[in-house]
């Protein structure tokens, strides 16, 4: 079992995430809520996958199970060939939350450095990496500021830089742009695509927004609520690099319509 050794990142698996018959049931007092029912999904390395669906469809639950922030009731899931717990302990993924979740007592730079501190990177490397990432998200000159001095979009970019700081192969993003206005959101989408192309990460992206999902993803996973399950997987064959023109193309509209109809079927 050489290739399942922890910490071995040399293992090359084309399927980064494999999910088989995953169920998640929340047990309350005398009631059971099925948050996820028989979910099956495979994510290949380098893919940009969006999970889309209305509230309560289990998309965040699915993401949190991948991140080992919660544990599934039944079914199997492997991340880079490991259990989610092992993947978490091996720091296989970076997680970007709905809110920036920055530490308010740390400057922007120190926030990006935080995971590097915990993971025991050397002092100098911490600074170089963090500064490089801040440059990538366009916040180089803000590194001394405290989070509250930044706008919402800038804060979320810091949080993305932080998730990328330790160079994980996988990025899990839970509605990272949900709280931003439409204009900022579109700018952020462009930026995220650029980062994705630059870093060649695998991204699992949860969103409410159909245009966002279509614009960003290589595949869209449409999910439906009560019980939460995967309804349909729509491949997006728009060519990369995508830009503002992509949003105006006919193919973009057709795909958006397809997603919208898939979502409408449910109701």
């Amino acid at each position: 079992m050489l290739d399942t050794q922890p910490n071995s990142k040399t293992v090359q698996i084309s399927d980064l995430i494999t999910i088989r018959d995953l169920n998640m049931i929340y047990r309350g007092r005398g009631s059971e809520t099925v948050a996820l029912k028989n979910a099956n999904l495979t994510v290949a390395e380098g893919e940009f996958i969006s999970l889309i669906g209305p509230s309560g469809c289990g998309k965040t639950t699915l993401l949190r199970i991948m991140a080992d922030l919660i544990q599934a009731t039944s079914g199997s899931i492997t991340i880079a060939g490991k259990s989610p717990r092992q993947a978490r302990l091996d720091r296989e993924y970076g997680y970007v939350f709905q809110a920036p979740a920055l530490l308010e007592w740390r400057s922007v730079l120190k926030n990006v450095i935080l995971p590097l501190e915990i993971m025991g990177f050397g002092k100098e490397e911490r600074e170089t990496r963090a500064k490089k990432l801040l440059e990538m998200v366009g916040l180089k000159q803000f590194h001394r500021q405290y989070p509250w001095q930044l706008s919402g979009g800038m804060q979320q970019r810091v949080s993305i830089a932080r998730a990328l700081a330790f160079d994980p192969s996988l990025l899990l993003m839970d509605e990272p742009f949900g709280a931003l206005d439409e204009i900022t959101r579109e700018a952020m989408n462009l930026e995220l695509l650029r980062i994705w192309e630059e870093t060649k990460k695998t991204i699992v992206f949860v969103t409410h927004s159909i245009p966002e999902a279509v614009f960003l993803s290589s595949r869209i996973v449409v999910m439906t609520p009560r019980p939460g399950k995967i309804e349909k997987i729509i491949p997006v064959d728009l060519p990369y690099p995508r830009n503002t023109d992509t949003r105006e193309s006919k193919a973009f509209f057709d795909l958006a319509t397809e997603v919208r109809e898939a979502l409408r079927d449910v109701h």
């Binding site: 991140a67 080992d68 922030l69 978490r88 302990l89 720091r91 993924y93 970076g94 997680y95 939350f97 709905q98 809110a99 979740a101 530490l103 308010e104 007592w105 740390r106 400057s107 935080l114 995971p115 501190e117 915990i118 993971m119 405290y146 509250w148």
Partner: protein, 431 residues
Amino acid sequence: MKRFLPILIVLVVLILLGYPLALLFGLPLARRDMKDLRKWEKETISLSDGVALAGQSDGSNTVFTYPRAIVENDDSRTLFVNDSSLIYKAERPEERVDGERADFHFESDHGLVVQDGVLLSDGDYVREQNLIRFRQTPPRNAQLRQYPDYFVQDSERGEVVLGAAPETGARVWTDSYTIYARPACGDTLMACFFSLPQHPVPFPHWIAARVVPFFQKFPLTDERNIVRSTLYTSLGTLSSLALGGAVGIILAVLFVMFRPLERALLPWTIASQTIPIIALVPVLLLVLGNFGITIQTSLLPTAIIGAYICFFPVVVSTVKGLRAIDPLILDLMKSYAAKPLEIFWKVRFPAAVPFFFTGLKLGTAAALVGALVAETESNNRRGLGFQILGQVQSGNVADVWILLIISGLLGVGLVAFVGLLQRLFAPWERV
């Protein structure tokens, strides 16, 4: 300038409020004085050989036959003698306010007046039937109100009219009368007001006029010097804050780390705050005294007393800070597979810093009270607490007010100082 405007407004309002308040509290006293004056004016008190006629507060006169009388006030004792043939021995009565006991002898001649054991010569006084006129004004007597029934003196005119209170035996001492001076009072209410020896609420400008003399009262070499007193009290409060803050942090961390400990100790922590500090201080001093730590020589008792009352808001606030962590941040730390100790030092502890200082600010006022109370228990003549007590006891009302203002300013200053520390240790907070 903008920051000081509120303070300025409060100051102006207080000063403007000071005048009506001074009148409000002073006028009833002035009215009482005026009534007293009329009463005494109505009464005639005569003293002839061996006979004293005492005016009573109910307006009637009683004749007493005593051979001699002693007029006493704070600074002098004067013996009036009507019998020339004897050598008189007078003993100070034990019922005196100061409880002192002293013998003094008077050699007498007919109509002799002896003051403080010294025979007054004819030139020092003029004697008329029932009236002794002093050449020099006898000092005013602050004890007046303790024995309002008997005495008569017009200090302005330097006259003493003899009288006695006959009703209680204790006051008519063996072979003597105790006669107290009364303050001069004008004819009108306002004149009486201005001649009041003490004002419960002095006019602000009276307080202001006392400031410079008050600061000059004791030189810097004297521990009663006001600047030294203030420094001493600040030192007491700051050591209280240091001790209380340290205890507060330790307890808060323990509470957050071990929930059962919190359940066990929190009720006691709350109960500890229900004990009135004034009852606790003497007990604490006794206990510490057993270990040779006294408030006369060490700041430790003050620090412990202050810490006792200021640690509580620190605990409550810091616990809140250690707990109030955004769940997302805890998820984030989990995603980094961070160890509990790392979560504590990198997340919980820094998040609690502003909360700690907020608690410490609340505790500052309490710690100052603790230091002041502790100082009143001491007799080393140090600190504002001692000063306040001393000035109250000697009835220097204006000085008490000055001390009150200084204590208040000290409180504001100390809170501001803690605020400065907060800015220093939690620079990320928006102002």
